[in-house]
Symmetry: C2
Subunit: 286 residues, 2 copies
Amino acid sequence: MSGRIVIVGLGLIGGSLALALEGFEGYELVGVDVSQPTLRYASEHGVAHRLTDKAGTVIGEADVVMLALHPQGIVDFLAEHRAHFKPGALVADVCGVKSAILEAAKVLPDTVDFIGCHPMAGTEFSGIEHAFGALFRESHFILTPRPESTPEHIALLERMAAHIGCRDVYKTTPEAHDALIAYTSQVMHLIAVSVCDDPMLFDCKGFEGSSFRGCTRVAALDVGLWTQLFSLNAPALLEVLDRLLGSLTAYREALASGDMGVLAEKLAYSAARKRKMDLPGPDLLQ
Amino acid sequence: MSGRIVIVGLGLIGGSLALALEGFEGYELVGVDVSQPTLRYASEHGVAHRLTDKAGTVIGEADVVMLALHPQGIVDFLAEHRAHFKPGALVADVCGVKSAILEAAKVLPDTVDFIGCHPMAGTEFSGIEHAFGALFRESHFILTPRPESTPEHIALLERMAAHIGCRDVYKTTPEAHDALIAYTSQVMHLIAVSVCDDPMLFDCKGFEGSSFRGCTRVAALDVGLWTQLFSLNAPALLEVLDRLLGSLTAYREALASGDMGVLAEKLAYSAARKRKMDLPGPDLLQ
């Protein structure tokens, strides 16, 4: 054993993280959750080496604590347990907003190194029964260290990201992370739910292709989690959303004008940008 | 040989259709394209049994003619060749709008049975070099017959749809098709290009997850084709687009209000609709 990693919160992300970290540099993996059914499921499926519902009994002996709770849960956990972490420990979270979390981490003593993490993986499901070790494969892993974060802890997280199958690791500031994530993730979710609000939704079965399935997939979201993620990042998200409304309205005007030349020019501009971006889709063959 | 199917236009859809129809009830498959590089590629890759750049020489002997051209190309082809089809032949198209095509098909003599088709498959690529026989697997196949279409021809298209791997066949009117497709397909493409118009696009590499890749995949569209598809269906598309702008704006207001209860209520409503819709996403594991 080279040390102990405690994972707090065994939902989709925490459960998958525990499964994916199996075998990582000989660390003992300890899973924490307040839900007995979750702990029972974890026990039956070999999620982590040891399980407990009492965080206070294990985080004092943890070299690394990974917080896989909802954002407000992380904020509350840091405040409640700020004096319980082992001196020299690395504490990290894996939620989808970073400024609010880094702000909350200021309650920690100087003896604890806090680094924000965001493995960019997920599904539209939640709960440990949907967890699987391959969840993070080919995902990006974002780090938002603090100025005083140690190179050793940053390197440790980079090796963890590699072990769980992430494609690469990016380091950035919490503010830059939150602005980018508002665009690449949060507004995608607002689009998905808005599309599902259309009265035509239930009439369209049999008429949907892969673009509809791809766009709306994430609409079946975890309401509590996403209410927090959106609210904690509202200023950045509103900026992106207003830009999207502007872009859609510009297309609306081009279409309404009946001028096919104008429409073609706009489409050529956007399509060229997408080609330059050169991101493979997840489902080329569907 | 039980007859002859002529496929006019060997792009992504026509080329894939020719490959997928191989072996269908012993029909001879004849491919038509005006592009010599396309015909050369088709010849080298065994696309269709026979190839020609002269539609006029083969459609008079065709029992079935499948038009896989851009919408305006179909309209022009029907007008130019209206007197050249074999009496009793089935003529069908496979493009993404139906009202404009069915309107154009009125130039045909009564001896020809025209049925609109829309296999709901595609990729963000175009051209025969991207064609593949499995393109239609698990797709929906939509038929818009005319009142005078024969049951035999409808049944023939249903068997063709099954042969190329489609999941099911739906019959509807051109108007209903176009209204639904504006929602399930066309507005998805307008969302994708609008998202790619955001100035943050090129900064976000490394910060995108599967929702971003899924939503923007189709933005690298065929500009000429989609300019026609959008323009030929502009009234229905504008209605859907205005509803989407309304739904997005409602989310914007909920977010801007700072009232997490209101936001949570809206998200619960939309997520429940998505779950009730119960469409599997294309990429649950990414």
